[in-house]
Symmetry: C2
Subunit: 524 residues, 2 copies
């Protein structure tokens, strides 16, 4: 795995497999395939780094000269995130959002001092973890600032504490998913947080964006896992979480979870951990329709009988997966594929699996064995590479995700699909899966593929706007696990109302009176 | 059940049983028993109601003249809450905190308009649900205000919506525990929230104080149950909760949960509900020591194998319960009593009970049968009546509660006990139970009994201060489920730090710029 991603692509070039041939075949059938040349990174010009000398001197005094980088490569690698819009802009040679400098603090103390220096010099600070934001969370406003620095937390990778009695661990924010898991595994523990961005995204980012992993049914969303937080803000530090639960007023942890760098920098996260599972098993179940599969998910959740992993693809997504023989083991009976996974002690896995299987069979599911499950597991972090291949072929691929209550799920599903297909016209593919379930509702994750056309950015902006209107009108949330960033900011008022917005502004003003923290992100 | 409680006592006079004779005997052995005469309510003078006429006229225009009460009885019944300090002050003839008027709005619209009128006239507003606060949550500051009104939500008792698909229900804030349960039972549903104050406390109060019920292991804390909130603030309404979970920035629901009337008035709460249990069974288990029992609770929580109810009394509390033959069925083998309860479908209860019993037996617990369990269930809402009887006998009874992580639990337990016994001197009884458990920690609930002495208020203030210092120094939370109110305000900075306090002040200023909402409560 490379330590940083290109601005134009996801992940490790060595792993960026071509599209599976069957999928490529399908894409060719549906879309006019074009070969896009992606510019060589080094050929794309960056704006001159504009950090004032005095600010640079003071920042160097905090983190050391070797950790204040202004070279093009360092800046390029911290430019924007990984939304399709971000990639398309980079592919078009636009890296105008590059930071003026990249700072790499060693610890929470240095972060705190960086914020104080930045506030004094009116320098905007963009906290940077894995760089995997897909909502413009790294695209800070420049106007009105003496400069913009990327605060790369990549040196802060310590496991600060393990409490095996309380089953908690305290992690530094710069740990990527696999790094955190490796450190915890040394103590026989796991965090159990596996979002699609797992290989690159960081613990700090998980917390700052309320990430949700593929095993959330079993381990919980990341905000559920967090019991304590340390945050550096321009007005000072705050440490929260003296108990798993408290009635000491509002839960301020929940204000910094999801704060997306706009209130401060999360410098340590204390999380609930579990023992490393003895066994992991994933299997496929087939449902005659998406509606039947959704009903089964609801039944499991409301019976408090969830497996560790529970996902359901709709008819379209199932069909596309079926086009890739690796993914479903040759079965092509149509309907909808559900992936059901169990992790834990062997006996507990067996017991839960038996109970879940009985319920699923009773509800009309057809067991598909472990092949579709292990195939899903093998490819679970692969989708962003596929997107790159599709972009190379001139096919625009992007996602829209939301969540709502069970009684509204179908309405939201239909509304978003209609909005996307309407806005994109023919040919367009809209796939969907349910990736996270709760007793009272579930998430919907749409993947869209359509020809780029002449103006892919404008084309996507229109489709995204239509989809978000459908989300809002149908009463669903504007994001279940991607966050607000800059891309969803205009809809935040629909989510929390005018009073909610003024509360967010008040909180921001109290911890960041100079408004230097990730300006323009989250808070409209 | 009477609709309002006396300022000097808990609950329904008809149910205020004398102390059980065995307990009375024990009290006599330990304490010098004195007979206290409690003044007749009507004999206690109230301050003149001071609401300016213009404010009164405008408030009458909103809620109607019949719902603006300034008579002594109405005001007396909304004076303070039910802490021992509150009762002692009322018993001493001090009702100086009586509101100037009691308003009874019909719905959320009227609440909103009341706040606007109150802000215009600079009238302080104290939201009033069941009047069961034990942390001074109803004792607002008068200085600087044209008057103080109690905003009694007792007319807002509707079940606004039931969504049997999503398993949610929307409740008005004035519903007391049994009223909410009765309405939900009409749909085959339950909320499952049974705090000790259940018979009087209200849905709005549960939300505003982050209440936790005796069946929290199975149903969750109240803040876990809430998926949506409507709040009236002086600057307008806010509705939150478009999905069970979201990444649309910070979770602002968690800012109004625990806001204790200081940010606004909760006018509707949407909660997760469960189907009414087919079966409820409670049983006793005996442990050789509190430490062994705590270890067993931790094992259950970390194996994700919690029953619906899980409580553990320490040696002292177990011994005192044993003095009441009704409570443990004559068994007096010492050690520590654990109450383990199961609610749900019959088959699920049987399965979970079998698994839990196996684990408890493996860990050294001795099954005590259903008698101690059903005895606990029969008396589960009775403690406040016992306190009244003890106060009548000149014995000061009060509680201190906290929560912390498992690895610190014993340290906190020892520190608080030492602080309380040290401050109160001999004779004093300090009892404790663990009432709420989590994977990472648990709560501790101390009950203290000591002779009142000449200055019971001063005596308790000293003991409480010592106990809270012990809580803070040992790293535990200042309240697990009672809240902050005015009594814990001075320690809130220890909980959330200076930055946390400034965030709370900023939120308050943004939604309540005139600072009319429950002034002096929660926010220092």
């Amino acid at each position: 795995m490379t330590s940083q991603m290109h601005p134009t692509r996801w992940g490790d070039p060595a792993r960026a497999a071509e599209l599976p041939e069957a999928t490529r075949e399908l894409v060719r059938l549906v879309f006019p395939v074009v070969d896009r040349t992606v510019p060589d990174d080094a050929a794309v010009a960056l704006p001159e780094p504009g950090l004032p000398n005095e600010a640079r001197t003071d920042l160097v005094a905090v983190v050391g000269a070797e950790h204040v980088a202004t070279d093009d490569t360092s800046r390029r690698l911290r430019t924007r995130g990984k939304s399709t819009t971000d990639l398309l802009r980079a592919r078009a040679g636009d890296l105008s959002d590059a930071p003026d400098a990249v700072l790499r603090p060693a610890d929470g103390d240095q972060v705190q001092r960086v914020l104080e220096v930045a506030a004094r010099h009116r320098v905007a600070v963009v906290p940077f973890g894995g760089g995997t934001s897909v909502v413009g969370g790294l695209v800070a406003r420049r106007e009105g600032y003496a400069g913009v620095v990327s605060l790369d937390l990549g040196r802060m990778k310590r496991l600060l504490a393990v409490d095996p009695v309380s089953m908690t661990a305290t992690l530094e924010p710069g740990l990527r998913g696999p790094e955190a898991e490796a450190l915890l595994a040394g103590h026989g523990l796991t965090l159990g947080h596996f979002p699609q961005s797992f290989e690159y995204a960081t613990v700090g980012g998980f917390a700052a964006t309320r990430s949700s992993g593929q095993a959330s049914a079993g381990y919980g969303r990341f905000d559920d896992l967090v019991v304590g937080l340390a945050v550096a803000t321009p007005v000072g530090r705050v440490e929260l979480g003296r108990a798993p639960a408290s009635a000491a007023g509002p839960d301020l942890r929940q204000l910094f979870l999801g704060s997306e760098g706009a209130f401060g920098v999360i410098t340590a996260v204390t999380v609930r951990v579990r023992e490393l599972p003895e066994e992991k098993v994933y299997e496929g179940w087939r449902w005659s329709s998406f509606a039947r599969g959704c009903e089964a998910m609801r039944a499991l959740a409301q019976a408090q009988l969830l497996p560790t992993v529970l996902r359901l693809s709709d008819e379209n997504e199932t069909a596309l997966n079926l086009a890739d023989p690796a993914s479903v083991g040759g079965s092509s009976s149509g309907g909808c594929l559900m992936v059901v996974g169990f992790e834990g002690r062997t006996a507990a896995v067996a017991a839960r699996r038996a109970e879940v299987s009985t319920m699923l069979a009773d509800l009309g599911g057809e067991p598909g064995g472990e092949k579709p499950g292990s195939s899903w597991a093998a490819g679970r972090f692969h989708a962003p590479y596929l997107r790159d291949s599709m972009l190379d072929a001139g096919v625009l691929v992007e996602t829209v995700e939301t969540a709502t209550y069970w009684s509204r799920l179908r309405t939201t599903y239909d509304a978003v699909r209609t909005a996307l297909t309407g806005a994109l016209g023919d040919p367009a593919l809209v796939l969907c899966h349910v990736s996270h379930v709760y007793e009272t509702g579930a998430s919907l994750y749409f993947t869209v593929a359509a020809p780029e056309g002449d103006d892919p950015l404008g084309r996507w902006a229109t489709a995204k706007g239509a989809a978000m209107s459908a989300v809002v009108v149908s009463g669903a949330t504007i994001s279940h696990h991607h966050g607000v960033g800059t891309d969803h900011r205009q809809w935040l008022g629909d989510e929390v109302g005018a009073v909610g917005l003024s509360v967010l502004r008040a909180v921001k003003d109290s911890v960041d009176p100079g408004r230097i923290m990730n300006p323009g992100v989250l808070v409209p």
